[in-house]
């Protein structure tokens, strides 16, 4: 009413605003780059590390790798603008303790110049640098397959996460894409892209099992992408990851989806609470995220002091 005197009713006035961002979020691609930035080149990398430190004693590793091939259309660009806000969202909402985030990109090793790009786990501004240095390939083979298996291989064999080593807590790996992985990790591609020598092809199921010892693995399929909603793609990933396949119909909600998934996994929230969080914002993301995450509601972790765990050597040895 009138001047309203310090009206505070922003929720009815809020809808549909997109902040203008300053400089281009796509510095690296727009500068005419044709291959992976050295910081993101997986070739010769021994380990990407998520470490506990005095500043971040309970690190929670979160890796987000997204498909940058042509079939994804505009999706990678949107992701490159949205994902920088993931850390802040996790921090402000306390969905995860000491989050450390790594970004990367997936292409197609059969034809692309940069089939795999991986940053480092970071808990500060450097993650944004990595993200803006991701080269958006826009290529791909057009046969409904991309080299996801190569990314899974890298994550399984070339990352080390203290949360697992020190606390038995798995990290989170999100793959955002719209196509299927090739059925096997091929020695020739591993050699060319990562620099490892492996004797024989590794079936994707096998590398996934190895990976899942370290990470809770999720596949997010944006319905805005080329093969969005494709039954064959969905069936393939559901076969591999079960309920951890999430369909996302609003790309703007990608950070919220990841954040809530981590929040659920960390038992920091339950789903209803998370969705209510979003709806309180007047965010249109609520229903999209709700649909995407509905399969993930789970029973909560028991936290009490019922029994004492004695420290001592483990009973097995990893090979």
């Amino acid at each position: 009413m009138g001047s309203g005197h310090w009206s505070t009713d922003v929720y009815t006035a809020a809808a549909n605003y997109r902040a203008a961002t300053g400089k281009s979020a796509f510095d690296y691609s727009d500068s005419g780059a044709r291959h992976a930035h050295p910081d993101l080149d997986p070739n010769g990398v021994f380990m990407r590390e998520s470490r506990d430190s005095s500043e971040h004693p309970f690190s929670t590793p979160i890796a987000v790798l997204f498909d940058v091939t042509g079939s994804m259309g505009n999706v990678p660009r949107v992701l490159q603008t949205k994902l920088p806000q993931l850390l802040g969202l996790l921090t402000r909402k306390n969905y995860a303790v000491d989050p450390q985030i790594m970004f990367g990109a997936i292409g197609d090793a059969t034809c692309d110049r940069a089939p795999l790009q991986v940053g480092q786990f970071e808990s500060d501004n450097r993650m944004d640098e990595h993200l803006s240095r991701i080269y958006l390939e826009g290529g791909g083979g057009g046969q409904k397959h991309e080299s996801y298996e190569l990314a899974l291989y890298f994550m399984a064999r070339h990352t080390i996460i203290d949360s697992m080593v020190n606390r038995g807590r798995r990290g989170y790996l999100f793959i955002i894409g719209d196509e299927m992985p090739y059925p096997r990790v091929k020695p020739r591609e591993v050699q060319a892209v990562i620099g490892d020598t492996i004797k024989q092809p590794i079936p994707i199921e096998e590398i996934l099992t190895e990976l899942q010892r370290k990470y809770e693995v999720f596949y997010i399929l944006p319905t805005a992408a080329g093969w969005g909603g494709d039954a064959e793609v969905l069936a393939r990933w559901r076969g591999l990851l079960g309920q951890n396949v999430l369909e996302l119909d609003d790309l703007d909600a990608v950070c919220e989806t990841i954040a809530l998934t981590v929040g659920l996994g960390e038992d920091a929230i339950d789903l209803d609470e998370g969705i209510a969080d979003l709806e309180d914002l007047g965010s249109a993301a609520g229903s999209s995220v709700g649909r995407a995450l509905a399969p993930l509601q789970r029973t909560s972790v028991v936290r009490d002091d019922q029994f004492q765990i004695t420290a001592g050597p483990g009973g097995n040895q990893r090979l």
Binding site: S7, Y17, A19, G22, Q85, G88, T91
Partner: protein, 307 residues
């Protein structure tokens, strides 16, 4: 004859006018008391040269008084300074404040402010107008040394307190101030305006009515031309290094401001985390929308604080 009657009537009328004018001038204590006519109109009535011989002495006296009254206003037209800002002196004039830059080289900043306030009027949701002062007018003033200054005339905000003079605030008060701040900047962002200098000295609060007014829009815009030197440490890197500003800049500065206002050691843990998630060096990693952020803020605070 009718002309004589007319002349006589005119003479009587002039006499009455003259006497009234003299009486008013003698009674006046400032030029403002003489609101009915301009200086020139008064001068015409009581000028000794125009007065009849028998009234000359009275006229001379009244004219002298009139000159003195107006002399006073022109020399101290700038009355006592009402407040001193980073770049401008502010003079009170009834319901208005005149904001005059000390250095004419800062005229561009004054123009920026005028433009920002006009944009807020034109493009901003009118329900939130109370969050910024109203620009009454803006004009170029030239002084005797031919220096031109852009003067912004703003509506005066009564009974308000500058945040930097508010002393130690209770957390409850800090919470409503924080909310109002997010509302104010969110409103501006939607109108396409970035404030660019969210600092203690640029915020007025009305404790009883929980009002907040954001002052000093001189630094507004996506390519800020200047910063408040004394507060350099409060600015995020993109302003200092790249000379760019975005809604995320205001969010960063508002967060820093509220952290200082509450005091980092008094900050409740959820608010501390909230602040940390708004304060990254990279603007892209900060929240981009103040009103959406208000939604998050509201979740952290008890329900009865959300007003």
């Amino acid at each position: 004859m009718s002309t004589l009657v007319g002349a006589e009537r005119r003479r009587r009328h002039e006499e009455r006018t003259f006497e009234d004018a003299v009486a008013k001038i003698q009674a006046a204590r400032t030029a403002q008391d003489l609101g009915g006519h301009t200086y020139r109109e008064w001068a015409k009535i009581v000028h000794p040269d125009a007065a009849a011989a028998h009234r000359r002495a009275t006229a001379t006296e009244a004219f002298a008084k009139l000159s003195a009254l107006y002399q006073k206003t022109t020399t101290s037209q700038a009355k006592p300074v009402f407040a001193s800002g980073d770049i401008a002196e502010i003079y009170a004039d009834g319901a208005a404040l005149l904001k005059v830059p000390r250095n004419p080289a800062d005229n561009d900043l004054m123009e920026t402010e005028a433009k920002a306030l006009q944009d807020l009027r034109t493009h901003g949701d009118p329900r939130f107008r109370a969050y910024a002062p109203k620009l009454i007018k803006t004009y170029l003033h030239e002084d005797q040394e031919k220096r031109r200054r852009r003067v912004n005339v703003l509506e005066r905000q009564r009974n308000m307190l500058r945040l930097d003079q508010a002393g130690q605030l209770k957390i409850q008060d800090a919470v409503w101030i924080w909310r109002r701040l997010l509302i104010g900047i969110g409103w501006a962002h939607r109108a396409g305006v970035v404030h660019g200098a969210i600092l203690e000295s640029h915020i007025l609060i009305h404790p009883e009515r929980r009002g907040l007014v954001l002052l000093d829009w001189c630094y507004a815009g996506h390519r800020p031309r200047a910063i408040v030197k004394a507060s350099e440490a409060a600015y995020p890197p993109e302003v200092l290094h790249d000379r760019t500003a975005s809604p995320a800049t205001d969010i960063y500065m508002a967060t820093g401001l509220m952290t200082r206002v509450i005091g980092p050691s008094r900050m409740p843990e959820p608010l501390r985390r909230f602040a940390a998630g708004c304060s990254y060096d990279a603007p892209r990693m900060r929240p981009q929308d103040a009103w959406e952020l208000l939604g998050e803020f509201d979740e952290l605070i008890p329900e009865n604080f959300r007003n």
